[in-house]
Amino acid sequence: MSAELLRALSVVAERPGPEHARVARALDLSPIPDDVSWTQVFVFNLYPHASVYLGAEGQVGGEAADRVAGFFRALDAVPPPEPDSIPTLLTAWAQLRERADDGDVRAGHAAATLVHEHLRSWLPLVLARIEAMAPAPWPDWARLVGATLQRGDGALIDGLPLHLREAPTFTDPRDGGGEGEPDSGGSLVNQVLVPVRCGFVVTTTDLRRCAHETGLALRLAERRYVLGQLLGQDVPTTLRWLAGHGESTTTAAWDGWDEVAGDAAAWWRDRAVTTADLLRDLADEAAGATVVAP
């Protein structure tokens, strides 16, 4: 893998300024990324942090970010302020690759570990969503990053990444809610918005599409509130839409990754399918109930 290419891809993922243009041009990206599209992708929809997709809360930071920080510490490096962001991870990969190219065997091993544990464990899911929904040039950027991940770095590592081994499960709200969440309605919303629990990603744009496709009214607010409002209008319809969305997007995202991502691809597919089944079951039950309680 070319360290130069990794560095360029990481730079382009940073918030764009005029000085990023020449790097984007070198990557043949068109149009040149600007603040508007970058914000549309990474601020409003697909936050560029591993912890959002691998953490138990679906938010930036927390234990998932600590695991990434621990990787830096294990290399005797001070973790950067946001160790799990896409630019940071790609830059780290580039730096390790450069050192490996200079003959540092330990760096080469670390690069393979970084790819296995902290990149292939989640990034293909996000890249696929970017390809599917982001404005140009981000789909092209995502394809380039995806191809680098496909090519990988060093020998394939067996086993499930720690993030996924430690991942909390999606709890059936009929069993009393998720961990620490006694309110069943709230826990359902919470869990659907936590990718590592449900197995798929629900963005702001997805929820707009849900409203559009189901004919439900859309409230403009943060995702938790929007989803609550959709469920408040029609639980079965919303849950069935979520089930279909989750199963299809995750299955598509991991298509072609089994050989290089090992067990992670299957893990995500299984989780999405399991959640989808549960959501459909809940939808059926709600359809037969007289009181809707999202």
């Binding site: 070198a26 890249l127 390809e131 092209d140």
Partner: protein, 989 residues
Amino acid sequence: MSNRDTPDLDRAADRVSAARADTEARGETFYPGASRIHLAMFPPKERWDDWVEYDSKSWPKKVEKRYMLVPTSCFNCEAGCGLLAYVDRDTMQVRKFEGNPEAPGSRGRNCAKGPATINQVTDPDRILHPMKRVGERGGGEWVAASWDEALDTIAARVRAAIVEGRRDEVTYHVGRPGELGFTSEVLQAWGVDGHNSHTNVCSAGARAGYSFWLGQDRPSPDHANAEVILLISAHLEAGHYFNPHAQRIMEARQRGAKLIVMDVRLSNTATHADHWLAPWPGSESTINLAIANHLIQSKQYDRDYVRRWWNWEEYLRACQPDREPTFEVFEQVLATLYAEHTFDQAAAESGIAADRLQAVAETVATAGNRLSTHTWRSASIGNEGGWQVARTLFLLNALLGAVAVPGGTYPNGWNVVKPKTPVNPDPVPVWNDLHLPLEYPFAMYEMSFLLPHFLREGRGRIDTYFTRVYNPVWTNPDGFSWIEALTDHDQVGLHVALTPTWNETAYLADWVLPMGHSSERHDIISYEQYDGQWIGFRQPVLRAARERLGETITDTREANPGEVWEENEFWIELTWRIDPDGSLGIRKHYEAPDRPGEQMTVDDYYGWVFANGVPGLPEKAAEEGLDPLAYMRRYGGFEVSDGVGPIHEGEVGEEELDDVVVSDTGRVYGRGPAPSVSYSSGGAPEPDAEGRRAVGVMVDGVVRRGFPTPSGKLEFWSSTLADWGWGDVALPGAMTSHVHPSQLADGEVPLISTFRLPVQIHTRSANAKWLNELAHTNPLWIHPSHAREVGVVTGDLVRVSTHGGHFVVKAWVTEGIRPGVVACSHHMGRWKPSHQTEGVDSPSPRMQVADVDLVRDGTRWSLQGRVEHGAYDSSDPDMARIWWTDVGVHQNMTFPVHPDPISGAHCWHQAVRVTRAEPGDAYGDVVADTARMRAEYEAWLGKARSARELSPNGERRPHWLKRPLRPVRAAWAIPEQAGTDAAGDPDPP
């Protein structure tokens, strides 16, 4: 991803490599530098000459703006955080200020006050020309005048004072110094004991507490590496270094460090704490002692550290002479000294439950030697005996060995660079009793807030009085007494205000001379913000930018707006006019080092300092092909060292150990040459009787550097206090505050006035529109239970009566304050006399001030007829958008002075009565009686113990203690009192 779309990675990599090679072949940087994904995102420094950003005002069009980035240092608080001025290359005007990543203390981060510098620079009401009073002083009429006239007038008076032997009649009264001693050197060159700082209304209490322990007067906590952080604060800002400390505290918190905050209010800092303690004001020392007692009784202190570094042997010999001076005996004594300070006792004093205090103590005990502690203003400056708050707080560090180790608290001097300069005048030959009178031999430092009383008593007069970055009428207590003094020409002959903006004191000047803001002046700074040493450079950024483009500028006025100058050049020019032919021996100090007979320039001065006084800087500059001055002009900061470590543990070299004598308590004296150090050493321990220098201290048979105290060790027991008549408080202990419940009359409650609003700093930030929009008023914090007793709700007017007068303010009912205590921030309530004229040459401030009538009836003064300002038209369209009119209330004018008899600090807390506003009361009313103020002053003066009676050696002050402008030794001798002999006895008839 879809395999059908797999891009050609090798081709992509080749394209990137080729593009990078092409870019770098043009001498440009391909990658943009530091990451832009974090809050900390900075333009790479190689692009500071030509930095491109999109113009935000042109959005959505992508219009490129080209900037030159020029570093300077913020001047809105003491922290001196690095700023980068974005100088528009088309207009050569500053467009904005952001953080300077090359500043070691602030590391590119700023609080709101840094970027707001642009407001101060573009303030439509700033003073742009020298202004001369016409009519009566304080009459509000001014005319623009030339710098030449101002300089000649002032120089003639100062020269006359020097020639006529009135060297104690020139006073320079400074608020925020913002520099490392340039102006002190000027005063020293003139031979006048004229330095008068604001320290006694600020940090004197804490300084005294730290000095008696360490020989250095400030703490330097290593928050970033601490396990437990204990702050006695009123918001972090009260600790001087808000931004540099806050960012390091947050780093520690992210690691899991615990934060304990002692503050009667729920401050911004307290909201982040693991333990927030809101004690009764003045009980902080009692809590510290309870924690200390817990550490002692549970034997969780570092025995070996205490054995090696405390002056326990000296203490036993002096205070327990019948007992064997062994460490085992000392431990037995130690276990009894603080035994009464139980959690129950502290709970009774502080009003905080014993189990909560115990939990805090147990948290402190977990720190090991990674306990960082800090107090600066807050309780230390609020209470009588507040200096013991610092002394008892540092007791915890001393017990745990958390001194000058990672995560502990360092003496400040070791984390500060003190560079040599080309100006080295002899010590001044006189002692100014107006500044350091005999009643306060330990004062830290000049008793500046008592100046009006001293003048009224006839202790002296001031011929020429400079105020600079200081506004005593507004900032000090008892402001009406200041007005009485400043309007009396017999007491103050000429008042020169050096200020960028009008203020309450400048209205009472004879000359108002416009000086630059932080981006319009030169200074060097170095502050203790972590365990490292750094130096920062404040510079006039437009001058530096034009010089980068090849211009030669020799006078900062050429680059500053209007006729705004900077103090460095002003002082040099004034010095030359005082001694134009060099006959007074003054001018020579400000001749160019390499061009005798020519006037020194700022480039001469700073070029010499950076080339000769800052270790490592010349080498670093050479790496980049720059001379040291050019390096500092380009980057604005340089880190001399990171990780200074425990200087006191350093072994003294053989070269210093010549003709060595060791005292009974281990102090080592020798005649070898003193080491060359880059840090500030603090106190100046006395030589032995034969003149040998105190070179170190014997610890387990090894001569170590030690601390700059008389004993060379940490002074658990202060021989200085004991020798000068204060043996009863020579140990860390708790003193009874003047707002202790036992000291309050029925119905009185403590008023806390010392807390800051995080985005404001005294009067310096008053012309920053962004900051004023964020915070512009100062209601009275009052607990709901207390409010019910008074019968008020939020927004109601209350009258707050002090011992000197009263003010009327709005109530803010909040659970964020301890019941039975009220609080009002000291940042607000700016005013101007309604008769202050306005015009092109003398614009009068209109933002964040109220017009008032100053009304005097004998000794009774008041501010009446208040008219609030709101929106107004000016060259800045934002001023027409001001949506608030309430600018707060000026409470300090109703406060009598409270000089602490030891530290000399003004003890700010007030005993007040809070009642509903009375008929006729109006918001913002301020009423005070200077006769009542004098009575309160005299009562507090009576607490002092004069050096005339108690000095053990006939001198005015312990010679080892720090003192600004240390005069020649002969001047330290107490003069014979008129009508007495040398011993102070009445002369025989």
